[in-house]
Homo-oligomer: 74 residues x 6
């Protein structure tokens, strides 16, 4: 796998949030490396409220890390 | 997507809590970008106690980040 | 919504724990603002062990924040 | 409810772990204040592996707080 | 119950990880003190992927605590 | 079990992320030591979106620890 994460630094909190989303998805992609399978799972998943909440929770966990890494963009 | 998160600073803990709610919802919105689909999911979801608890947990996780970013509004 | 959270400071750990409970419930109330619906959900929920554990987990997450905000009441 | 949490300080990590268990149970007890109902729920719950894991997770979350409060008993 | 946790200090990260596993199991054992019941639950549980992931999550939570207690073995 | 975790230090955030994946899997492997059983569970698991999200959550939790251990690779 090519380099995809060279720094946790971002210029803004929003970019940090978007990096958190990337990390959450990478956690899935490492576990299920077949992109076709992941694409197949997406429709059902994205229409299931509890699945979306669970995805949002993973993002929140990564955002904690990234926010700390950026000293909360103070 | 337009700028929606330029700072984690809030004037009061309550505004911080409300920002945590925004972040929790944004985590859902990035995963399911279709607002119509999200609106369709809401009624069932909002009448299911475990779904509400899970949503509250995501808020709690973001509130940790925001509270730290604001030095706990001390 | 009126002001309901002006400080994370509490005099004792127990009051901090009770504030954590308030925050956990507020996370639910912002997501489901209809108090009647929430009251309707309570009986079933409060007799389901896994739901109670999940609620306790949200409280634990908020208590982390509040304990840090109070420097652990040292 | 009488005073039940006046300090997060404990003499040993083990006492801290046991306090974490107390906090996890208190989170349940505040949500379901009827002890008879809680006792009725226990047997099924305590024979369900996933329920036990979830309970252990809440304890782990509280133990983080208590360990930090005690500066990790260093 | 005899003394089983007198320190969070470990010599290596791996021993810290193994201590995290012990803490996760102790959280279960305090909730279900009957070892026979726990042994009966293990086979089904250990062949259920989601149960294993949940157990791994509890371990991860305790490992955070233990890693911090050991200043990350720096 | 041979030494598999001698340091939390990694050269890059990406290696830290990959170490988080290793830790998440080790948490499973200690709980279900039979590699054949784990291999048998993988196919179903890796095609279930909620299972993948849960795995991603464990990775996120470990990544918090590893990122802190590396001072966020600043």
């Amino acid at each position: 796998m090519a380099d995809w994460l060279t720094t946790l630094h971002t210029d803004t909190p929003q970019e940090g949030f978007e990096l958190a989303i990337t990390l959450a998805r990478k956690g899935v992609a490492y576990t299920q490396p077949d992109a076709e399978v992941r694409d197949k799972l997406r429709p059902a998943y994205a229409e299931h409220a509890d699945s979306l909440t669970a995805a949002s929770h993973v993002i929140a966990t990564h955002f904690q890390t990234i926010a700390a890494a950026n000293n909360y963009w103070k």
